[in-house]
């Protein structure tokens, strides 16, 4: 039976209390996407500033629970300074970690044959691993990431 300490790891609470990179960026030049968590009504806006292929800045606005806020906050610290491809690689790894129980709970990206391997190399983000034991909260953890992904998609189009 998973307990609260599996979910609310200290680093998560820290990012929740002190979210990094909150705010907005001017659009354009920044890209922006808006995401909803249909379960709880949370809305998040993710702003992405690119310089060529490099992500030079990311800002988060909107409300959310500790999991969605801290996950988005950690994300900003990981992707700023990376290339789009690198960021997408991290996104994939993160979502793979989250996908263990996600199929069936998320409309966007689950497959019938969910792999059960947990990718490594996510740093602080691995603190979110406990979320998979609380399937309903997976959507919270991935909200910022999916919205970030949407913003990047605009760069392609």
């Amino acid at each position: 039976m998973p307990g609260l300490e599996d979910l609310y790891r200290e680093v998560i609470l820290d990012h929740y209390r002190n979210p990094r990179n909150r705010g907005e960026l001017e659009t354009p030049p920044a890209l922006m996407a808006e995401g909803f968590n249909p379960l709880c009504g949370d809305e998040v806006k993710v702003y992405v500033q690119l310089d060529g292929d490099t992500i030079t800045d990311v800002r988060i606005s909107g409300q959310g629970c500790s999991i969605s806020q801290s996950s988005a906050s950690m994300m900003t610290t990981v992707v700023i300074g990376r290339t789009i491809d690198e960021a997408r690689g991290t996104l994939r790894s993160f979502k793979q970690m989250m996908s263990i129980h996600e199929h069936g709970l998320d409309g966007q990206d689950s497959a019938l044959d969910g792999s059960t391997e947990v990718p490594s190399g996510l740093g602080d983000l691995e603190a979110l691993r406990g979320v998979v034991k609380f399937p309903v909260r997976i959507k919270c953890a991935t909200l910022g990431w999916n919205t970030f992904d949407q913003a990047l998609a605009e760069a392609d189009s």
């Binding site: 307990g3 709880c40 949370d42 809305e43």
Partner: protein, 410 residues
């Protein structure tokens, strides 16, 4: 007659379970109610002894299945004070019931510029079908505003009713518990030649219901919130209205004849029940109504009012301004629904901590986003009471809220 809650609780198998090592405290009946053993037994009895498709078989168990399922229709019709059981249509849930009205009555009677008047208390089930009609037909969706304490603001009603063809309102808000003056709205609608649809999803399970007293033209409600199974909802409509409405879904059961070049629809209510009906679920909802009638709806309501009083009082005492409970404070004008915000702890986080203490509440927008925006929140934690809850459940909620306040105290 007052409710013997200990005995009632014992009728519900799920309430005997534990979660995370503590007894469950189920406070999410606004989302779905638990089911008494009598309801499960009735459905099992159907499946084990008379399972057969209805209306079309001349053999013994098919007859018994037909009689049992149609008996359920009569039972439910009587429960809501309908004089004619043909006015009671079974759907898959309350949502389909409202969509049925929007498709069949709405698309026949509403044209561009016609107004459907909703209240800001509505559940998405009583919003989206009208938005769809607005997109498709150019009807106007207009909103009855709220007062500060979350009731309907009817000061401007005359003006709001201009051009209105349908007033569609909930009888109990699933977020604030507010009970709007449905009768007044129905009368006002009729006075301008409009009809009145009532979303009774949170009303019928909790208050004695009489469609004549409500004064409405349509009443939608749902089985799983009133001790019945999933997979069944109900639409009551005045006979003359139903008789004049074209079919919605097409298929078996709803026809008198089908030819290569067309079809002749059946009489009501079957005209609106295309395909194999939810037979076991009809029998289940019949048993649920029998169960509720056995307790008496007045006793149920009385119990819930006094429990809501207890909750507002004790939680107010314990948490003061730290705990915001939305909605009217006069419990004679509200249902047992408590939408809470504890300081600035997000509803998801709050309900997660509550769950660790076995306390089940709902976190989110409760499918009422326009109302949430009006209340200035994106989500709340909602505790909703029913006949099997008692003061110990409220106390457990208070204890768990205490724990959450401590856990997120930074």
């Amino acid at each position: 007659m007052s409710l013997d809650v200990a005995a009632v609780k014992a009728d519900f198998p799920l309430l005997a379970r534990e979660v995370h090592g503590t007894p469950i405290v189920y406070l999410d009946s606004g989302a779905t109610s638990q089911k008494p053993r009598a309801v499960l037994d009735a459905m099992n009895r159907y499946y084990e002894t008379i399972n057969a498709n209805v209306h079309r078989g001349a053999y013994h168990i098919a007859e018994l299945a037909t009689i049992a399922s149609e008996d359920a229709r009569r039972t439910v019709a009587r429960f809501i004070g309908a004089g004619d059981e043909h006015e009671l249509v079974f759907t898959k849930n309350a949502t389909e019931a409202i969509n049925l009205v929007a498709h069949s009555w709405g698309r026949t009677n509403l044209t561009e510029g016609d107004v459907v008047l909703l209240s800001l208390l509505e559940h998405h089930a009583n919003i989206v079908p009208w938005h769809q009609l607005a997109e498709e037909r150019g009807i106007e969706v207009r909103w009855i505003p709220l007062t500060d304490d979350g009731c309907l603001d009817l000061t401007d009603l005359d003006h709001l009713l201009d051009g209105v063809k349908l007033v569609a309102v909930t009888a109990v808000s699933n977020v604030t518990g507010a009970i709007p003056p449905v009768r007044q709205l129905a009368d006002a609608a009729h006075a301008v030649g409009a009809l009145c649809l009532v979303d009774g999803s949170q009303y019928v399970p909790h208050l004695a219901t009489d469609v004549t007293e409500l004064g409405c033209d349509f009443l939608a409600f749902t089985g799983h919130k009133m001790c019945g199974p999933t997979g069944i909802g109900m639409l009551w409509g005045r006979r003359e209205l139903l008789d004049a409405m074209p079919p919605f879904l097409g298929g078996g059961e709803m026809i008198l004849d089908v030819r290569r070049d067309g079809f002749t629809p059946n009489v009501v209510p079957w005209r609106f029940e295309a395909g194999t009906p939810p037979i076991a679920e009809m029998i289940g909802i019949g048993a649920a109504v029998d169960y509720l009638e056995g307790l008496g709806m007045d006793a149920v309501r009385k119990h819930e009012v006094s429990l809501t009083d207890y909750a507002l009082r004790t939680l107010g005492d314990r948490f003061g301004d730290d705990l915001l409970i939305h909605g009217p404070t006069d419990t004679t004008h509200r249902g047992g629904i408590l939408s809470m915000c504890l300081r600035d702890i997000h509803a998801h986080d709050l309900s997660q901590v509550l769950d660790q203490h076995g306390v089940c509440v709902r976190a989110g927008h409760h499918c009422a986003k326009p109302l949430m925006r009006e209340l200035g929140v994106t989500s709340t934690s909602r505790a909703s009471l029913y006949l099997y809850n008692d003061e110990s459940d409220i106390d457990a909620l208070g204890d768990a809220l205490d724990e959450a306040a401590r856990f997120f105290d930074f």
